[in-house]
């Protein structure tokens, strides 16, 4: 799976989980500061949804180290190899 495809799938998951006022369009630099609905609790809810959708598991260190969506995608690519 390529980065673009992962980002597209993440777009769907983010919009589904966060149900934002304004539709989210993620890019590599997107972070919690850019999306009002992305708080610490919804971060966990996103992680659970992503793990389920991609059939992967993250470690707590991975979950806590991401500074933006690009870093999340980096981790996902490693797991999807």
């Amino acid at each position: 799976m390529e980065r673009k495809e992962i980002l597209e799938k993440l777009d769907v998951i983010f919009n589904d989980v966060l149900d934002p006022e304004k539709e989210v369009h993620l890019n590599e630099r997107s972070c919690a500061d850019d999306i009002e609905e992305w708080d610490s609790l919804s971060h966990i809810q996103l992680v659970v949804a992503i793990e389920k959708a991609f059939k992967i598991k993250f470690t707590s260190r991975e979950i806590m180290k991401w500074r933006n969506v690009g870093e999340m995608v980096d981790t996902m690519l490693e797991k999807l190899k």
């Binding site: 149900d19 609905e37 609790l41 919804s42 966990i44 992680v47 659970v48 707590s60 806590m64």
Partner: protein, 132 residues
């Protein structure tokens, strides 16, 4: 290092309605606090020599907790332990694979004492509150 179980947190839709049912079980309702940091209304129910109950009603704009509420209904969703040093607990829990929701912060509902929340798939949410 890890102290006693302090309370069980319930996510609720109506604090007074849930409190009333607990009052029938002998709990005493305290004043409801508006925690603007956690974006929740919080009300503690106490019973002598027993673990307290924390009723948590999310603010209308607290979407993530509203989502949790929609998923679980009115239900217990976290337990909270007292600890002597929350910074030590924070390091220990993260080292052991728990995901921290945030670093220890002062909490209005605990007279400014620090709290932190952790999550893991196998248990769900655990809160810690500093003893002092």
């Amino acid at each position: 290092m890890l102290g006693h179980l302090d309370h069980i947190g319930y996510i609720v839709e109506d604090i007074d309605a849930t409190a009333y049912k607990f009052q029938l079980l002998g709990y005493v309702k305290e004043e409801t606090i508006d925690d603007t940091i956690q974006k929740c209304h919080i009300c503690f129910l106490r019973r002598e020599n027993d673990i307290s109950i924390e009723l948590v009603k999310p603010f209308d704009d607290n979407k993530s907790m509203k989502r949790l509420q929609k998923k679980v209904g009115v239900a217990p969703y976290h337990i909270c332990y007292v600890c002597n040093d929350i910074d030590v607990i924070y390091r220990k829990m993260t080292d052991e694979g728990w995901t921290a929701l945030f670093k220890p912060v002062s909490a209005i509902a605990f007279e400014g004492r620090k709290i932190c929340y952790f999550w893991c798939e196998e248990i769900g949410f655990i809160e810690f509150v500093n003893k002092k």
